[in-house]
């Protein structure tokens, strides 16, 4: 009986002391962690979009493009739309779907692009994640260049050596996404369509 009591007592003391230590550290680190976490949540979306000051994670609009729902995140600054971000899916990658997050400004030019998910061959198709490949889409919009295709098919985008299929799939998916955005620009940017017409926000 005495031994049992002692064991309970020791564990309780240790547990309480540990809890106190953790509570203290938690209180100390709470604020910076929240700051980091907040940044992380919006990382992907806000990284591809022009700088905005609204809650881009919450300000969304879902449209159906005929085969699937596209979720647009809208970015505004001082209440004026500055751009949007949306995910496109390339069904024709080398292996499985490729999910790409595309950011655009109000003129429809690409401001950022990041690969969310893919199953391409490591070292070949997986290079669609590299900045060298992604950055060539920056500033491009649905009518500039004229034809959205990789160099091998006569276009302006350089395909990855050994991974033409992946490069082609990304290019086509981004082009389709931009066209869809263009067609629904007013709806997506919403609220303040007056600032939307070409030349409004872009280059």
């Amino acid at each position: 009986m005495k031994e049992t009591f002692r064991m309970c007592f020791v564990l309780t003391v240790i547990g309480a002391a540990c809890a106190a230590l953790m509570a203290f550290v938690n209180a100390q680190t709470k604020e910076p962690i929240e700051r980091n976490a907040g940044g992380q949540k919006l990382d992907a979306v806000s990284a591809v979009m022009p700088p905005s000051d609204n809650d881009v994670a919450a300000d969304t609009l879902v449209l159906n493009d005929g085969t699937r729902d596209v979720k647009f995140h809208r970015g505004t600054k001082n209440g004026v739309p500055v751009g949007a971000a949306f995910a496109v899916v390339a069904p024709d990658g080398y292996s499985g779907d490729i999910e790409i997050l595309v950011g655009v400004d109000t003129a429809g030019a690409v401001t950022g692009l990041t690969v969310l998910k893919h199953l391409e061959t490591p070292g070949l198709g997986s290079k669609i994640e590299t900045p060298e490949f992604r950055d060539q889409y920056l500033g491009k919009s649905v009518r500039d260049p004229e034809t959205w295709s990789v160099a091998k098919d006569g276009g302006v985008f350089k395909q990855i050596t050994g991974a033409t299929i992946s490069s082609r799939a990304v290019t086509n998916a981004v082009a389709a996404g931009l066209a869809f955005f263009e067609a629904h620009k007013a709806e997506v940017l919403g609220g303040a369509p007056a600032t939307a017409p070409s030349g409004g926000g872009g280059k």
Partner: protein, 351 residues
């Protein structure tokens, strides 16, 4: 001869040895391997001879780059074997030609015109990592040449999958092109259907080897001739190759019947890629595949199934080497399930 039962044979029931410790055997055999090198050499020699038609033809097709690849690969394989035995001071088995065969097989698994360093890294892994670190010939679990190939495929995918030279004798105006399997995948993704329904001419092209690919996989006919030669010489048995090729054909056939637009017809799968090379020359390796006939059949079917699954659904176009390596890992289990006849017993009966 019959008296000297192999040390691995069953212990006489009366002996009071600790059967608990199979390990003890390995302690004993861990350093000098005394085996009859001359016999191993003659087997290896026959396999090399069987590979010669396909090798010579690849040189005819791809020109000097192919010759370069074969020479560098064979020389470096033999070199690494010799060097390793020098370093660990183990009596030489370099003379048994098994390293030469590994080098040749690896060369036949590479694209013509591979850079020298690629060939060297491949052979380093084949000979040192896959073979010698496991204890040398007889103890390696995985086919050394295939380990070399897969290491290169994973480490240098660009060099291994996108620099195929299309056949144009002596490599003067060689252009890079896709292999038939690569083209089929590309057509499927671009148009939604495999453009690989074999016409008679294409089938003949595949048979005689008028296509892009690694050195040894291009000519199905010459590989088949080599395989039949080995069968006739009784170096290999029919079980593993037939089960392997048959299961690829059957499985590809099932998928093709289910959806002809998405999956190419089975003959295409049988004639392309490294299937014949793998089935006759690697799925029949003595050391890394099961000993008993039933085990060989299980092994072959396993190889075939994995190959087709990777070709149709994987992120690599070709699955033969992965299929064989995966089944290599299962070989000890298969051997346990299908006990091979004790060697010596058969001979004793006939004597």
């Amino acid at each position: 001869m019959e008296e000297r039962l192999p040390d691995a044979g069953p212990k006489a029931p009366g002996t009071k040895e600790k059967t608990e410790e199979p390990i003890a055997r390995f302690l004993v055999s861990s350093s000098p391997h005394v085996h009859e090198g001359i016999r191993i050499r003659s087997v290896m020699g026959l396999v090399i001879v069987a590979l010669l038609p396909a090798s010579v033809f690849s040189i005819y097709l791809f020109g000097l780059p192919a010759l370069f690849t074969i020479l560098v690969s064979v020389a470096s394989a033999a070199g690494f074997e010799w060097l390793w035995q020098k370093v660990v001071r183990r009596p030489g088995t370099a003379g048994d030609l098994s390293a030469v065969l590994t080098g040749l097989l690896l060369a036949l698994n590479l694209p013509a015109g591979s850079p020298w360093w690629l060939i060297l890294v491949g052979n380093l892994f084949a000979i040192v990592v896959a073979k010698q670190l496991y204890g040398g010939i007889g103890y390696n679990i995985f086919n050394p040449a295939l380990v070399g190939r897969v290491v290169l495929l994973v480490a240098f995918p660009v060099h291994m999958t996108s620099r195929w030279i299309s056949p144009s004798a002596w490599g003067m105006d060689a252009v890079t092109t896709a292999t038939p399997l690569g083209r089929a995948r590309e057509a499927l993704l671009a148009t939604g259907s495999v453009d690989a329904a074999l016409t008679r001419n294409e089938a003949i092209d595949l048979l005689i080897g008028n296509r892009a690919g690694s050195l040894g996989e291009v000519s199905v006919i010459l590989l088949l001739i080599g395989g039949i030669f080995l069968l006739a010489k009784r170096v290999i048995t029919w079980h593993a190759p037939v089960a392997f090729i048959g299961s690829v054909w059957a499985m590809a056939g099932i998928f093709h019947l289910a959806n002809p637009a998405r999956f190419a017809d089975p003959s295409f799968h049988v004639l392309t890629g490294g299937l014949f090379l793998g089935a006759f020359f690697m799925a029949t390796d003595y050391v890394t595949t099961p000993l008993a006939p039933a085990g060989k059949i299980v092994f072959g079917i396993g190889c075939g199934v994995v190959t087709v699954v990777i070709r149709l659904f994987g992120s690599y176009p070709e699955g033969v080497s992965f299929g064989i390596l995966l089944m290599n890992a299962f070989t000890p289990l298969i051997d346990r399930a299908f006990k091979p006849a004790v060697f010596g017993a058969r001979r004793a009966k006939t004597a």
